[in-house]
């Protein structure tokens, strides 16, 4: 299932929603708002929400996007769920390190690793 407007592609692995961000640049403020809204709706669809965000197509990032991710994680936690990030390119991962957000999010190298962590 693809939400072109929000630039997401969603698949299901058991009780986990795997969300692939399809746009290479999560920098545009309008895109960030759309993505954030779509992800919030996804969180509300399943209780508890288990979500893997796949960054394989993401080549750029911004502080607004990081803020969106933080807000998303809060929503997931409020609903007793889990969020994992995966497939983050090194240049993007560096942004997480600089902001120390690699300590806030659980980040995995692959979708499979992220799914395995949710099964533990």
């Amino acid at each position: 299932m693809a939400d072109d407007k929000a630039q997401l592609s969603v698949s299901t692995e058991g009780d986990v929603k795997v969300v692939q961000l399809t746009d290479s640049k999560i920098l545009d403020e309008v895109s960030i708002m759309r993505i954030g809204k779509a992800l919030t709706e996804l969180v509300a669809q399943t209780i508890p929400p288990k979500i893997v965000l796949d960054f394989v197509n993401v080549g750029h990032m911004s502080s607004s996007a990081l803020g969106m991710l933080i807000t998303l994680q809060k929503r997931v936690r409020e609903n007793k769920g889990d969020l994992r990030l995966c497939c983050i390119q090194p240049t993007i991962y560096e942004v997480f390190v600089i902001t120390r957000l690699n300590e806030i999010f659980q980040i995995h190298e692959s979708v499979q690793d992220a799914l395995a962590s949710l099964a533990e």
């Binding site: 920098l27 750029h60 807000t71 994680q73 809060k74 240049t91 942004v95 600089i98 300590e103 806030i104």
Partner: protein, 134 residues
């Protein structure tokens, strides 16, 4: 140049700057850094400086040569004191959704200087330097 306080206008500036960087042979690492810092400074000017006011503009100037790129971004807002922006990397601020723009600008550019009023910022990125290894 002067641009309206819209994200669409900001994107056009970013695209123009990236084109110039490419023309001068800047690599992907430098382009990533400049794009990120420029995006943050423009977003700050549009959103915080000008309050998304369509009647206010953002002044953007840039100069690219074989040695470095220099960018200045100025808004029409009342200014602020960058020194009073809380450190987003301290524990109590880590999970706040905002406040990381200036941190990223400083991390990715070799120089970041705010005017005394705070509504103008000048950033420099050397073509062949690495700041924080970036």
């Amino acid at each position: 140049m002067q641009i309206p306080s819209t994200y669409e206008a900001a994107k056009q500036v970013e695209d123009a700057v990236l084109k110039e960087l490419d023309r001068h042979g800047y690599d992907d690492v430098a382009a990533f850094a400049v794009k990120l810092a420029l995006e943050e400074s423009l977003n700050n000017a549009i959103k915080h400086g000008n309050g998304l006011d369509p009647d206010k503009t953002v002044e953007v100037d840039y100069d690219v040569d074989a040695r470095q790129i220099t960018i200045t971004v100025a808004d029409q807002g009342g200014g602020f004191d960058p020194a009073r922006v809380p450190d987003p990397t301290v524990d109590e601020n880590l999970e706040k959704p905002c406040g990381r723009g200036i941190l990223l600008m400083r991390a990715y550019m070799d120089e970041v200087c705010f005017s005394p009023c705070g509504n103008r910022v000048k950033m420099v990125k050397c073509k062949n330097c690495t700041a924080q290894g970036l």
